[in-house]
């Protein structure tokens, strides 16, 4: 791992989506793979419209868990507006994995407001590699919508540069046996989906 620059990851969502769990798994997978990793999170205000966000950094040596704005390699947004909120942290042409989930911020729930349209198009227009995934629907089809966070984690597994056996080892180690199978399914679905999307995008680029 000598002088491996590693990756800066940012996980964002709203209360109850499992942001902190996937961030924890990512940090542990990096450590399992022999990286130095640091993680920090902010989750005070989810109930009142605030977001939940967790920074994960891994490399051969990490000094601070916080990634400065503009230096995140991969943003995983469990909710679309949260993707928009944190996009300024992503480096130019960085990867944004956007969950097809729309939650109107708590303070606007009883207002006649329209949820912003075409967030993905907007982010693509800004030059980010943006991948929209309906993780909630996939997780629901697998048995529980709550595994959407693990689908999204699967979607970054390749791009993060952490070996697959490290991902699987920490998932097996940290998730309760009762929900393990579901989550492994969710994780593998995420990997596949991202690979297919990537292939499709390459195909488009070829033309």
């Amino acid at each position: 791992m000598a002088n491996d620059p590693g990756k800066n990851l940012l996980f964002a969502g709203v209360g109850g989506q499992g942001v902190l769990l996937v961030a924890e798994l990512a940090a542990r997978a990096a450590i399992h793979a022999g990286f130095d990793a640091k993680k920090t999170e902010v989750h005070g205000a989810a109930q009142r419209g605030g977001s939940v966000v967790s920074h994960v950094r891994f490399a051969s040596k990490v000094y601070s868990p916080l990634t400065p704005a503009g230096e995140v390699d991969i943003l995983v947004a469990l909710e679309k507006l949260e993707g928009l909120r944190w996009a300024s942290f992503v480096r130019p042409s960085g990867l944004i994995i956007l969950n097809e989930e729309e939650r109107v911020p708590a303070q606007l729930t009883d207002k006649p407001v329209e949820y912003p349209r075409q967030i993905d198009t907007f982010l693509i227009g800004k030059g980010f590699q943006t991948v929209l995934i309906n993780a909630t629907e996939i997780a629901t089809s697998l048995g529980n919508y709550r595994a959407a966070n693990i689908v999204l984690l699967g979607a970054i597994a390749d791009a993060a540069g952490i070996p697959m056996d490290s991902w699987m080892a920490v998932i097996r180690q940290h998730l309760p046996p009762k929900i393990l199978e579901l989550n492994i399914n969710a994780f593998e679905n995420g990997i596949e989906l991202k690979r297919r999307t990537h292939a499709a995008a390459s195909h488009l680029t070829d033309h």
């Binding site: 005070g44 205000a45 109930q47 419209g49 605030g50 000094y63 303070q107």
Partner: protein, 729 residues
């Protein structure tokens, strides 16, 4: 940006306001409507201090755009009381002592009131959940929960039995309590002076770099910018200790940590100031950063401060021995060595640092130095801010007045002048208008001065019965980029280790190191918690090795009242033995120790701290504290004290001392505190010194006044002064 007219209904009153689309509700409440009871603690929706009620629900006003709450029914803390009659929750908070600095209090009370409106019967668990979005740094939450619970219980009784819920607090818990619970307490950021500008500081993005050039021309040309400054304008070095004069107001030739201040601007509004600092172009030459204790000790790496005394990045080395340590270890029947590491952490006071400066120029066109500067600052140490700002700005200190408004907690993080005070003052001089600088939460963290990360090694010799025969201790303190109070910390880390125990001989060595990280300084129990953690764990391991109960090994070694420690710390009254006895009894130690189920445990540690330092930082011959107690023309008592109430309640303590001494009710006392023009000197609110030092000064003054009163009364009454008592006044 284009403004839009909106209608807001706040506390039952209709307001029509022209707002910019990006303005938050908090901004509009505080700046447009001057409803400053709504506080900003983080500005990112994490602390809850900005909580207001929108249609009865708690909402974070710092995350809510003003335009989105048009037509909603909103309530701020100012709308909770019914005229001069407090809301039951406000009364309950006062009764239960559920507040200290008061900065989180408005948000906390509003969140609690929303919970009470939803249900007449709240369990403690529900209250905890409902208040979970509101952070408090001072109280530990228990009293807040109890105060809310009490109102809920009272409501429940009223519903079922129509009971009487009259509340009255005759003896106030705090003399400023009503201001705190109603949101009228004025903190520095609540000050808005006519023509006031907003200042922002540009900070280094690099941990260690040489500044090659700074180009401020684009910032200066931006419409709305009235002043720009860079480091060379204020070249005088400063530092809180005479031995740590290693900082300048803004960096001049080098930056030494991510966040080191580089340039500052003052503009008509915050957004323009923010844009302006982004237009400042700084060219850096990157230098290798020193980021660990180990690297700081190496002699082959660059020095962070070229002029420092040592060949590596050691800022201070201390080595002291008390008694014959070799003999002490020779007498030991068991010797143990251990190593520990204590992580750095920061103060996290709820109120971010803030300074407002207002400069009145003189008619002298040649020099600004005849003018007068007033500086309001959220500081624990107005005295040090006063003398340092005068020195760095090269203004006579008689022309500088420092005023400390209400302060929302400090915990050591507001104990020395920081960039914002110098910059606000200098920008005010340059622009000829008042300037306010409020740190963002991120700036609070990078300014830091928090607890030193410390690597420790400790060796102790004991007899078989656990009696300590000798201790040797070594510490390596990670000091960050500047000196701050680090020399003091270097001594405290060793000197305070012995305090709770009888140690016949003791030797310690400490190194404080410069690294390219935010500067470390004093934080709650300055220098003591790190060795305390190490030694108490070490002592437990010794107890375990010898088969002695951890309580018993402590009881065997405890210091006695009215004694001196081996390193000459004076122990006066001391109830630690009784304290441990009561803790053992109340905790069920003897029944629980070693008998709890897996995953549960019970432990004990003893600690002690000094009441201020015997030697002042600057040997000016001034008293550490002084007080003036006068009888005013209305027959009440006016007290002038330099002691800074930073939320810990020192003004209340002082008022109580005066009330008890003069036999008058606390309502008849008015306190004027921490204003360098009006109040006598006090070194500041740090090191647990205020009640001891300022309290004793005020006690002396009140006794002198009582003697004078008795002498006058004795003459009128024709009775001996000794026969008089003062009470019921």
């Amino acid at each position: 940006m284009q403004r839009r007219l909106i209608s807001l209904i706040i506390n039952g009153q209709h307001h029509q306001l022209a707002v910019e689309p990006q303005w938050t509700l908090a901004q509009v409440l505080r700046e447009q409507l001057r409803l400053t009871g709504t506080k900003i603690g983080c500005d990112t929706g994490d602390c809850g201090a900005c909580t207001v009620l929108v249609n009865g629900k708690p909402v974070l006003s710092c995350l809510t755009l003003a335009g989105t709450v048009e037509g909603d029914d909103m309530k701020t803390i100012e709308g909770l009381a019914d005229g001069r009659h407090l809301h039951p929750l406000q009364e309950s908070f006062l009764e239960h002592g559920a507040l200290q600095c008061g900065y989180c209090t408005p948000g906390m009370i509003l969140a609690a009131s929303s919970a009470l409106d939803q249900s007449n019967s709240l369990s403690a668990e529900t209250i905890r959940e409902q208040l979970s979005g509101n952070l408090c740094r001072c109280t530990g939450y228990q009293k807040i929960i109890a105060a809310t619970q009490a109102v809920s219980d009272r409501n429940e009784q009223q519903t079922s039995r129509s009971g009487n819920a009259a509340v009255s607090a005759t003896e106030p818990f705090r003399i400023d309590g009503v201001e705190q619970v109603t949101g009228t307490a004025t903190f520095t950021d609540d000050l808005m002076l006519p023509r006031m500008l907003y200042g922002k500081i540009l900070r280094s993005p690099h941990p260690h770099a040489r500044i090659l050039s700074i180009d401020t021309s684009k910032a200066e040309q931006l419409t709305g910018v009235l002043a720009v400054m860079t480091g060379p304008e204020l070249p005088t070095k400063h530092g809180i200790l005479p031995s740590s004069q290693d900082e300048t107001a803004l960096s001049i030739d080098k930056v030494r940590y991510v966040g080191d201040p580089v340039a500052a601007v003052a503009a008509l509004d915050e957004l323009t100031a923010e844009k302006a600092i982004q237009l400042i172009e700084v060219r850096y030459e990157l230098l290798p950063p020193i980021l660990t204790i180990e690297d700081a000790l190496r002699t082959d790496l660059p020095k962070i401060h070229q002029e420092a005394n040592y060949e590596n990045n050691v800022a201070k080395h201390v080595e002291l021995e008390f008694g014959d340590v070799a003999k002490g270890f020779a007498e030991a029947e068991y010797v143990r060595e251990d190593e520990f590491f204590y992580s750095a952490n920061t103060h996290a006071m709820m109120e971010p640092h803030c300074a407002v400066a207002s400069f009145e120029p003189s008619a002298n066109k040649e020099s600004y130095r005849d003018g007068h500067l007033t500086l309001w600052s959220a500081t624990q140490t107005p005295h040090y801010v006063h003398r340092t700002v005068a020195r760095v700005l090269e203004i006579p200190s008689s022309h500088v007045r420092v005023i400390k408004p209400h302060v929302g907690g400090g915990f050591g993080g507001k104990s020395e002048p920081l960039a914002l005070e110098f910059c606000a003052a200098w920008l005010s001089i340059k622009a000829g208008r008042p300037v306010k600088i409020t740190y963002t939460r991120e700036e609070v963290f990078s300014s830091h001065r928090g607890r030193h990360a410390t690597k420790m090694w400790v060796k102790t010799g004991v007899k078989k019965n656990g009696a300590i025969t000798a201790i040797q201790y070594k510490a390596w303190l990670e000091g960050g980029a500047y000196g701050s109070y680090g020399v003091v910390t270097s001594y405290y880390t060793g000197q305070l280790l012995t305090m709770p125990y009888k140690v016949p001989c003791y030797k310690f060595e400490s190194h404080r190191l410069y690294t390219n990280k935010p500067p470390a300084g004093p934080k709650r129990g300055h220098g003591a918690p790190q060795p305390r953690f190490a030694f108490e764990v070490h002592l437990d391991r010794i107890a375990e090795a010898l088969g002695i109960d951890p309580v018993d090994i402590r009881l065997r070694n405890l210091v006695e009242p009215n004694s001196l420690t081996v390193n000459a710390l004076r122990i006066t009254s001391c109830g630690i033995r009784e304290c441990i006895g009561k803790v053992v009894e109340a905790s069920g130690w003897r029944e629980k120790r070693g008998k709890l189920p897996r995953g549960r445990g019970i432990g004990i540690a003893a600690s002690a701290y000094i009441s201020g330092a015997a030697k002042e930082i600057y040997w000016l011959g001034l008293p550490h504290s002084a007080g003036v107690v006068t009888i005013n023309r209305g027959g009440g008592v006016t007290v002038f004290t330099g002691a800074s109430d930073i939320g810990q309640g020192s003004s209340t303590a002082i008022a109580r001392i005066v009330a008890e001494t003069l036999g008058i009710h606390i309502h008849n006392i008015r306190i004027y505190e921490a204003d360098t023009d009006l109040t006598p000197v006090d070194l500041g609110s740090y090191s647990s010194r205020v009640t001891f030092m300022a309290g004793n000064a005020i006690l002396d003054a009140a006794r002198v006044l009582r003697e004078k009163l008795f002498a006058a009364a004795a003459e009128k009454l024709g009775a001996p002064a000794q026969s008089l008592t003062a009470k019921d006044g």
